[in-house]
Symmetry: D2
């Protein structure tokens, strides 16, 4: 498939352009506008707003940040009309129907950055070569810039080869993957419900340049929660008995949460990553907020951890006479690739020169909310798979010097194109 080379410059340039303008989850208005315009330029029908995101199912979306992001987009060339079309929700779905009978393939690429200050040191290639983030405190430090670049190049390639294809392709550009927040809303919109096949991928992770892992495991099921306790303040000297101590509810919940028993059937995790409680030194604390997460090797174990946590959170509210609120802020599930799709990937990757196909179970070792969409597709009878496109990287994911070996972009596009061809070629 030698004509893939034709998209090389696009792959690099688009990735570098997007790298300069990182936007965090649910705030990717400028990014989404760029995607929509580019995809429409290729001839796609592009849906956005509540057509691709179910507002009721949104997790971890902060209205204040959304508002500021819209303002930022306006100040950076996005039109009000475009913003209106988005209805406050980022991400989009580009559809191309070949007009020929055939299956529907949904492919998913995630688009958000993470809140990390990118390095400006000379040994950091984006700094040295001039495509470092222009937004202090934000950085594409998990490779979603490369994901989008690959998605756009694949869309371009598909449009160029539409006549050789049958069926229909849907490009899902998903917001807010970090914190596993965005997929739930996109899945709930039903946009992928008609997919016969679903594919998604991540760059780098545990694979080196040249490797393609087609049977990754260890997508940890996880639920992210914000817990708020509301009590009543009182003067700690004069009338401590009059207070309802929200910090007491939170701290006692914390110690019990850490003590949720290990599960005999497999790995579990729990963490309270942030706790903020109280007002003044001499006031019985009336409010406490915890940002926490549970994980499990399986959905059953994750559910076990979640349910035990809820019992504890509730029990401590009762014990301390406080009110409590639990908000789900993110969610991911596990995934087992359908064997049929694994075979597609094996051939697609195997056909690429220099690629080592890894079909041993490599541990993904993290959470990915593409699994939410994948499992919904599977539940409706479709077939789904997730693969990892190896790429050397000088530094870990989410760190200030993260970068990917750009040669992997060519490899990745070819694997994607081969897979699409295998599924949709006439």
């Amino acid at each position: 498939m030698s004509d893939i080379c034709a998209y090389h410059d696009q792959l690099i340039n688009v990735r570098r352009h997007l790298h300069t303008m990182p936007e965090e989850g649910w705030c990717e208005f400028r990014t989404t506008a760029y995607l929509i315009e580019t995809l429409r330029g290729y001839g796609y029908e592009v849906l956005t707003g509540t057509k691709v995101i179910d507002p009721e199912s949104c997790l971890g979306r902060n209205p204040k940040l959304v508002e500021a992001a819209q303002q930022y987009a306006l100040e950076n060339g996005v039109s009000q009309a475009m913003l209106d079309e988005m209805e406050g929700f980022t991400g989009c779905c580009a559809v191309m129907d070949t007009g020929r009978p055939g299956p529907t393939l949904a492919v998913r690429f995630d688009i958000d950055c993470i809140p990390v200050q990118e390095s400006h040191e000379p040994d950091h290639k984006p700094a040295k070569e001039g495509f470092v983030s222009e937004r202090p405190g934000f950085m594409h430090a998990c490779g979603h810039d490369a994901h989008m670049s690959t998605g756009l190049a694949l869309a371009h390639w598909f449009a160029d080869h539409k006549d050789e294809m049958k069926g229909r392709i849907k490009f899902l550009f998903q917001p807010a993957e970090e914190g596993v927040r965005g997929a739930a809303g996109m899945a709930a919109s039903g946009i992928a419900d008609d997919a016969d096949f679903f594919l998604a991928a991540h760059i780098a992770m545990m694979c080196k340049s040249g490797e393609v892992s087609i049977k990754p495991y260890g997508f940890l099921c996880t639920t992210k929660l914000d817990v708020t306790y509301q009590g009543a303040p009182a003067h700690a000297g004069v009338e401590p008995n009059a207070g309802k101590n929200a910090m007491a509810a939170a701290c006692n919940a914390f110690v019990q949460l850490l003590g949720i028993p290990r599960h005999g059937s497999g790995m579990s995790r729990i963490n309270v990553g942030q706790l903020t409680a109280g007002e003044g030194r001499n006031v019985i604390p009336s409010k406490a907020v915890m940002k926490m997460e549970v994980r499990g090797e399986t959905a059953e174990i994750n559910t076990y951890m979640y349910e035990r946590a809820v019992d504890i959170i509730k029990g401590c509210a009762i014990a301390q006479g406080c009110e409590y609120k639990i908000e789900k802020m993110g969610e991911a599930v596990d995934l087992i690739n359908d064997e049929e799709m694994v075979e597609v990937l094996r051939k697609a990757a195997g056909a690429v020169k220099g690629v080592t196909v890894r079909d041993d179970p490599m541990n993904f070792g993290g959470s990915e909310d593409a699994t939410i969409i994948a499992r919904r597709v599977q539940a409706k009878g479709g077939k789904a798979a997730f693969f990892v496109l190896g790429a050397d990287r000088p530094s870990g994911h989410h760190t200030a010097k993260f970068d990917v070996d750009e040669k992997a972009l060519d490899t990745g596009l070819e694997v994607w194109a081969n897979a699409v061809t295998a599924l949709l070629a006439k």
Copy 2:
């Protein structure tokens, strides 16, 4: 009132006899039988069983111990008929009506011992003089033997002086004062509801021989609780998630109980005095029992402590998925002597040669469930008071060498007789 001397030998002998046969709370069958027979011998109508104890209101009564105590009584000369009359409940009420119109006076004496091994060392007078406890592990180490001896002598004296009196007298011999368990059931029986006056006393405490404190304060309100958590066992290695950890419920309740906020209006206390939990080292503990108590300077503060404790106990059950049970094991309230009765006591004690009347507020510094009956009498319009009869003692209450200066018995009887005379003399 010189004829009081006539009862001196009785006072000493009865006290010493009872000292040899101590019985713990709710188990005083042999003691009660002795009291009933003696009082009937003086011509009293004596009520016992459910006529003087309301079974529904009994606190801290252990049926197994009761059964064993009945067996012990049978083996020590108490007839089955007498036991039948008691209906399983110890204590009695002896009534004598003068036949002349007049008020009803209720006087209360407590009858149980405590589970302490009495000293047999030669410097311990009961050992040296041969009236040491004959029951290993049990001892009249709080002076209730002296209380009963005084009560019987007073009853004897009253019967002898009946013709000089009006109205009616009721002698309440109350079981299970230790742990403040017995008064609730006696009060609830209504046996003292018709009392116009109520008097009770304690020997020794903070007063020396010759002192009579007529305005003691600091009767701490208290509630004694047994808390049981029931969870589910599981193998701690194989399937820890399958357990419901009752020890976790108890330990987390414990740490929260100690953290109940101090009350701005006055003194409060909390203690968990015993905690027993778990089965085997490698089993998730399925049962935990806590013996605890709360106290408060006022009924309001004690109630505050109790209610907060209940919230915590319940909340921790929910948090750990366990069942819980709270049993009230004892209860005492505070008491303020009615001024009218203080005056009676002032004169009654002041008339006794060698007595120093203490009407400054001396701190009783403990709980006494006579307060339960006293407050019930007050609530129904009667007048009540509690006084302390000083007595030198070689060792602290509840210790193995506790003893009282027996000269105080003569003093005490005279104070009592004077008070009864003041209230009931024709």
Copy 3:
């Protein structure tokens, strides 16, 4: 002492001027400059900087806020030379020696505001009459503006009457009374060590206009602490064992702190008013900060609470493998007025028309760090007292509509002048 009327306008105007420019503790550079210049205008020798504050003993002083406050002062007319003289420390001591042998009297007035947003509603007199705070978020809401105004008027009066006096007077204008932070440093400087007499006062509190309480009690001993735990972060999913969980140290310390046993000898208190811990949701928290306080009815009880707290804080650091740091942020002790000074106050206040002298024990119900200086004076053989100058107030201390009945200022100045006269008149 009718000529006190001459200072009426000064009392009001100065108080209102200072009310417009509130500065918080350790940041009162503009205020201190104003005081120094005014006092020098009256002919006083004025010491400032490390001559009146011992830097080693400073509590709760935030260098960043100090720096910003110096900048604010520069921008509002304070000269660099004046700031240099202050050496970074606010507060001052004005000394006037009569040249005649006699005792040394130290009088203390506090100068800081609190961080409250003042009301601008028309029913709030400072708003209606145009002397509301000009600094958003800061307000003289505890009457220290009135204290300073009184202190300056008294200094003026004393300078005017110097020829009638003997001995020496020292006006201590103390920074950072809120949070009981400033007195420790001022006391440690030794500036009051030569005082034969010490007097301080507070306006309003539990006394109405016209009342002067000369025997207040209930100055709670207190120690304010900031506790920091430093652990080590780790990825909560991948390697939770690699972390040192500072939040675990803090939460477990919290639950144990609340459980410090009540003290049998009197009232104790503990509160953790703020807890901030953790970084990201999926990171083992590596840092936690608690703002807390202990109190005791006596120094012994406060010390008991403090020492138990330190044990717990240390023990939880060891238990969780974290480092810890305890910083003392404030301190106050209890005080018993010397009877000799009470007599001075009784006469000084009694001589003022319309004043009701309250010599019954009125509960101050809070902490005041003037006690630190007072107890140091007492320890060195001097006599000390603290009194409360009643003043009607429409709203509670520390609230947005706090204000004082300005008529109390005249009364207060007269009481002060009478007391000074009693102690220093030729």
Copy 4:
């Protein structure tokens, strides 16, 4: 190896005899006497007492139970001389040297019972056939009776075949395997330090009759601990501040112990199986005892759990002002069979008619302290393996109706004899 049949009756009879006289760990005096006498009858040199047990390294040995057990032994026919030889320590080592140069093989059999009341129901074979436990509350419910029977038969067989062998064999009859207590002391005695080969086995577990698992995994590393906190009592009403609350130390340690973070590298466990604390309801608890255990999939993880637990136990002692004591009560490690020994077992078992050799990794799912000796042999350059001899069982290990299919005894003896032959045949 048809002559194995000759030992059939011995196998059954000895097992049944030992089944009637179960003795718990460190108390197997009667059992050890029986073993010693039997082995000496076969011509073995038998060592016992401190020659085979290092007293310093004994875990979980209760002197009071030992004393009672010696008394029981005396009453049941064991001579004082025999007891003297044992020096208070059960277990023994029987040595036979062929006189020919060759390797030393150590084989280990465990001898203690567990405290379970054996069933007397007719469907329980030992009850029906008359070899049920004669000691109420004790039962060979884990098959150690079969282990001993096999060991004795193997010793008999080896003595009968000594002329065909070279080198030396050592039979280790190890006490106190339950609670993984006995092996540490036996290993520390050095009795197996000269072994070139080490073999041990367990009956039943996860294998059915006819199966022999030669590569079991999942020997959980574990450490069993008893933790004692000693504080100081105080009257909970009068002077709660005077106490040092051992229950507070224990409960706070408990909640922190459960919260020890999961280990990223594998399975970990923690349990506090028993907690007993406190004296009376109104006494600040001065003593608390916890029986607990940690486990880890690897020695590294178990050590991690242990060290974190120690930090917590110590930290809570400091936090609550108590003393603490940690006693190691048991210990087991993991084990990987040496490949060379696996091959020996494969052939030894494979040669037995009707045996299915299981060389897939079967999960042992528990702890076994034979691993302690095995790892010590490996550390000194020897080769070691542990195998599981399948046996059908009507009920789970440690239950009242546990029993083993006695046909497995013949199979087992043949496997053992084959393995010994493979290692020691001339």
